[in-house]
Symmetry: C2
Subunit: 436 residues, 2 copies
């Protein structure tokens, strides 16, 4: 019996072991999904802290229900470990590591490379390997394959199968989670695709198969580039509308009544999170190799990078209308999460605006119901202050940077002396309410 | 009884006369819609030919059913005229004239100005006036209002009411037509908005009221800018994908399986028609007045303008693969309409590609089932040739420029010697099928 027959037999008997490498907001829900389907899952992470939390049934991902995590840990369907030699126990390895950009906006592939090294050094023959991290097209075949082959001495598509299947996790989405979000899968060979389909089907309702890893890689980039470009477009139109005395929010509500050919995006102080601000630049990176200039992504990136600065100008303008300078004024920011109702401040534009404001002499504080403390990009450490009539009234300016649903517009309006609303929370403007 | 009370009384009694200025693809369906609702409609157009056709019940707009036009003409609910002095018979005037760009991509406002002159010189007091043509924000109040006041000697919002309500006509759309497409309406005063709502409601199912004409003007621009930017983005990604050996059509089909936050756009040889290639540049025009640079629109416009040239390169590359030059080769274009299943070649990229190809010595012919003859941008006059096995086989290269549903991929593939498919009609590539 060859490797693929053996693996397919295990999959049919539900006895395969699935290893998930990286236990963050993508990897942990996926690990829980497989474990819930009755598959034995080993979760790998370099963080001893995360591993200990999981093994004691403590959940740290908002989108996973605590009881569900506890159940699969109690049933020993999911175990977490920092010991990467246990990769050899796995029949399938799904890689969910971060792919950040470095300080020069170049892709930092070190997490993927390091995962591939660990896999190559520890895997057994007959393993299915799939990358879920967002990256530039060609990564699976041109970067991962040679590392794994070299470290393992095994041959791709004979001794192991390599695939790419992008995560589509949307933190805070009440309707779509890992299981019911259709998943794209591209493998190098038909055999790899068949094995991947059989494995993923256990945890994912709908799979969409494509002809190659690089097609699947481009799918993810297209999805997020679409969002970056459209948010940047509406931000640019919001800035022009501001100059023209047009309420962009009213414009968007009206445009939404078009029943075909339109999807609404909303302006904001800039794009945050782990995907949209980063992914398009992966494509820009690989495009250079093909002597290709991506002008839409370039323009969109430029607008997005400038937004926090424009938002600072808006704060300064609002204070100026009350004959105050930023320098020495108390400025309270409401919300540092990069989108509503989540506890994640990564790449959040609020942090950037707070840094600029503090740098200009503003006395910066913040409140976020989900994020008790933050470190800004320039290294300032801040604790969330309570949201009370007193803290609101004490501020020279209150800046709405995240539209958390729990924010009460009436209460904020009732006590703040000056408001800069970057998220249309207050839904009106006046002498002391400035809207984006 | 003042003007507004009188007009509202007529509207309540269904005895108002509605004048439609401009009887093209926007004005004629609107005129028919009001006439079908039992309102007396006078249609104004400078073209004696169009007026004669309508008055003899001959329909020239594909989206209107012939029988419906004949019925409202036979019932004398709709009469057409070139006599603009009959404007004085109208209680409401809806302006549906073209707003093209001139050769320097500046808005040509002469049609609107001319309509306003005619209205000002002929209207009676107590008239409601609404512009439907796409234009830049501020047009209604800053351009139209002064002309009408000066020519009529009447006062806006006292003797007449001015509004803006953008058309959302989508030729060839099987689900949404004039009546069931929600319509945005913005007027200068509440009184004008109330009158406008009562009039439009007779022909339109759903109205969305906004606070000013300039908000309504921006709505239309946002809708079409969204499309221009997204089509340009996917065109740019298609060009890169081509270089990387990735099938962009397969990527889009896969991305479409994302159930949130994505809307699919498709690449093509460039953007045609009367709206999307033009409207965003209206905004670019007015933005200059506000010292504002619209970088997203600029980048999108640049890509769109270059597409026909890139498509020519694709044709040359395909011919080159068979050791043929464009110069002297027979090149047959299938489809000159700017989108599928319609009979409109305005601003069609096919015409541009045909011009470039002919200029380089290609022997250009075309077939379009809906367009028997065309004049290209550079003035060449061409007749549609029949689509037969012989014409397909006789061509050195067959170029698919419009994806009309009636095109039979099997038949084309079976007889063409070389295909350049710019619309994914054939859905495969090979040594003699080149895809965008």
């Amino acid at each position: 019996m060859n490797h693929s027959e053996l693996l397919l037999q295990k999959i049919a008997a539900n006895t395969e072991v699935v290893g998930i490498i990286g236990l963050g907001y993508v990897g942990l829900p996926l690990a829980v999904g497989f474990a819930q389907a009755g598959i034995n899952v080993i979760g790998f992470d370099k963080s001893q802290n995360k591993v200990d939390q999981i093994n004691s049934g403590e959940n740290y991902i908002k989108d996973i229900r605590d009881a569900v995590l506890r159940e699969v840990v109690d049933n020993i369907k999911l175990v977490a470990t920092t010991d990467f030699t246990r990769i050899k126990e796995c029949d399938a390895l799904l890689i969910c590591v971060p792919t950040p950009l470095d300080k020069f906006r170049k892709p930092d592939m070190s997490y993927i490379e390091s995962a591939c090294m660990a896999i190559g050094q520890n895997m057994k023959p007959g393993t299915f390997i799939s990358l879920e991290s967002t990256t530039y097209p060609t990564t699976t075949e041109d970067l991962m394959l040679p590392i794994i082959e070299k470290e393992s001495g095994l041959e791709s598509e004979v001794d192991f199968w390599l695939a790419y299947s992008p995560e589509r996790v949307d933190p805070g989405n009440a309707s779509f989670h890992t299981k019911n979000t259709p998943k794209v899968l591209g493998a190098i060979t038909k055999e790899g695709l068949e094995i991947g389909e059989k494995i993923y089907s256990k945890a994912i309702d709908t799979l969409h198969l494509v002809s190659s890893p690089k097609v699947a890689e481009m799918v993810k980039i297209l999805e997020n580039t679409y969002r970056l470009v459209n948010i940047s477009l509406i931000n640019e139109l919001a800035l022009l509308s501001g100059k023209m005395g047009i309420d962009i929010w009213e414009v968007i509500e009206a445009a939404k009544t078009k029943p075909f050919g339109f999807q609404a995006f909303y302006p904001g102080p800039g794009i945050g999170g782990h995907c949209i601000p980063l992914d398009p630049f992966y494509l820009e990176h690989i495009a250079k190799k093909f002597d290709f200039d991506l002008s839409m992504i370039h323009a969109a990136g430029h607008i997005n990078m400038r937004m926090p600065h424009y938002m600072y100008i808006k704060i300064a303008t609002a204070l100026n209308s009350q004959q105050k300078a930023v320098n020495g004024s108390k400025i309270l920011f409401l919300g540092v999460a990069y989108k509503p109702n989540i506890d994640d401040a990564r790449e959040s534009p609020a942090l950037e605006i707070m840094d600029i404001t503090a740098h200009k002499g503003g006395l910066v504080s913040y409140h976020d119901p989900y994020i008790p403390s933050v470190e800004t990009h320039h290294g300032a450490s801040l604790q969330s202050v309570p949201l009370t009539p007193e803290t609101l009234h004490a501020a020279d300016c209150v800046v709405l940077t995240t539209n958390h649903q729990v924010f009460n517009p009436e209460m904020i309006k009732g006590h703040a002396r000056l408001i800069v609303d970057l998220r249309n929370v207050i839904k009106e403007s006046s002498d002391n309410i400035f809207k984006l």
